[in-house]
């Protein structure tokens, strides 16, 4: 890939910039997600009294996976707009900007994931061979993130209004991803619609591996791949077709 160096250096400088900008530096990569999750624990765990004794690991596993998806897609979707002045002066393939955002978020996610694994070990979970099932789960989720992130990033410069829609759609998707409740508690009809959301099988897969020491449900992962590939194809087509139109669309 011709622009590999640019993408990697972009990720490196993004992370460096974040550290340099904040008083506590990279501590925020850990503090911020912990605070975010504490809020939801307070609301759902303490306030609404959801779940049983296992609710904390249940919630954490779901939130960590969700936050990776949410942060990456959100930032990738506005990545072309955020670089307006740059793309009007220099030709850079537009996927570069989305990819930088996604990889930056992925790096931060991996840190939090290590923390989550440590938490699970400390609270008495034992790793087994099935934990290797996490690798395909992460790869499939990465595919979904890239597909949706690049697609939204390619479309939003044409319709800035969509940005507002995306914010709320992601919020709806979060509450409909089974992060806060177990899907099996839904009625059959509701469950069918609920399962269209590709984050549902992904979060279930994370939990199957880490909390129940089971292999992920392969059919579920297959469904996510099937949803992602067409989105990725459309994103690549759009970005190619309009590569040199974007600088004229935004000003």
């Amino acid at each position: 890939m011709e622009y590999r160096e640019l993408v990697l250096y972009g990720v490196y400088t993004d992370l460096r910039t974040e550290v340099a900008r904040r008083f506590l530096g990279f501590a925020w990569w850990i503090l911020e997600p912990v605070m975010y999750m504490a809020v939801f624990y307070a609301v759902f765990g303490l306030g609404l009294r959801q779940g049983g004794p296992d609710y904390v690991p249940f919630l954490l596993t779901g939130m960590v996976a969700w936050k990776w998806f949410d942060g990456s897609v959100r930032q990738a979707s506005t990545s072309i707009l955020a670089n307006t002045s740059l793309i009007q002066q220099i030709f850079v393939p537009k996927y570069v900007f989305g990819l930088i955002q996604i990889l930056t978020n992925t790096f931060k996610f991996l840190l939090v994931l290590v923390l989550l694994l440590a938490f699970l070990l400390v609270t008495g979970r034992r790793p087994s061979l099935e934990w290797f099932g996490l690798v395909p789960v992460l790869l499939v989720q990465f595919l979904l993130i890239i597909s949706l992130g690049l697609l939204l990033g390619a479309v939003i410069p044409f319709m800035h209004d969509l940005k507002l829609l995306v914010d709320n759609a992601l919020m709806l998707m979060m509450f409909m991803s089974g992060i806060f409740f177990d899907a099996s508690s839904l009625s059959e009809g509701a469950n069918a619609i609920f399962r269209l959301n590709p984050m549902v099988p992904l979060i279930e897969a994370h939990r199957a591996v880490l909390l129940h020491n089971e292999w992920p449900h392969w059919g579920g992962l297959g469904y996510v791949v099937l949803v992602s590939l067409p989105m990725l194809a459309v994103a690549v087509l759009l970005l190619r077709r309009f590569e040199r139109q974007y600088p004229k669309l935004i000003y």
Partner: protein, 270 residues
């Protein structure tokens, strides 16, 4: 109006012999303008521009504000593509705008910023690291080179940007009014560097409102008016025709203002 005379042909015979590397043929660029909810209007920023660029020459572009000069530079930088007409390029040609401080990060050091700019301009990481010492020397930043660029003065920032841009060697260099960078001594130095590029076998397209700069640096000049190329040829002649047109337009404006004032005065008297 075509300002092509026999003098233009004899003036720069050196440039005439060189091969054409870019050919711009009846090019137009259309922008989309929002005019209301769900409504857009087309707007042609460039209507019909034709000219060619030959290897090694320095081509000046002049014209009033809004004539389409920047739009034209974007086309030549291959940031955008024409909506009508076409541009023929010599094979494997690189071109870029001499853009100062693109992708600039105030939190990072001058060194890191130089690397970002270099990568954006299409250099490989290896090439940039090899050039870093030269860039540091040229920018005269000294120890500041490893300090956060946010602490730089405007002039220092411009110097860094210019140093990177001038070291990123492209086949075709596009310059948009950046000859006045930094303080007096650095300005002389940057002009010197520009001139070396221009005198060497670099192909340069220069957009400027300074007729002295154009006259001094350019072999040929293109005059753009309201999105159309209305004149091309030897620098002195095109500049003269352009200045004449500007003087005429200003005269008209003054006359009109006088007439308006007179009309207003008359109305007030009644």
């Amino acid at each position: 109006m075509q300002v092509r005379t026999s003098k233009a042909r004899t003036h720069k015979t050196r440039a005439r012999k060189k091969a054409v590397i870019v050919e711009v043929q009846n090019v137009g660029v259309c922008y989309r303008q929002r005019t209301g909810v769900l409504r857009y209007q087309k707007f042609w920023g460039l209507e019909d521009v034709s000219f060619e660029i030959r290897a090694g020459e320095t081509l000046g572009i002049i014209g009033a504000n809004g004539a389409g000069k920047s739009t034209l530079l974007r086309l030549l930088a291959r940031v955008t593509e024409p909506d009508r007409g076409r541009i023929l390029w010599r094979k494997n040609m690189s071109s870029s705008l001499l853009a100062l401080n693109v992708g600039f990060r105030p939190e990072l050091s001058g060194r890191n910023n130089a690397i970002i700019s270099g990568l954006l301009l299409g250099l490989k990481l290896k090439e940039i690291t090899r050039l870093l010492d030269q860039i540091r020397d040229f920018s005269e930043l000294g120890d500041f080179f490893d300090q956060p660029a946010g602490t730089y003065s405007t002039g220092m920032r411009a110097r860094l940007g210019f140093a990177v841009a001038i070291h990123a060697d492209r086949d075709l260099m596009l310059i948009d009014e950046v000859l006045g960078v930094g303080d007096e001594s650095f300005r002389l130095k940057s002009q010197q560097a520009m001139r070396e590029k221009i005198r060497g076998d670099k192909t340069v397209v220069l957009v400027s409102h300074s007729m002295e700069a154009i006259r001094e640096l350019c072999d040929r000049v293109i005059w753009i008016d309201k999105g159309r190329s209305v004149g091309s040829g030897n620098a002195d002649q095109v500049i003269e025709a352009y200045s004449g047109a500007v003087r005429e337009a200003v005269k008209q404006l003054i006359l009109e203002a006088r007439r308006n004032n007179a009309a207003k005065g008359g109305a007030a008297l009644k």
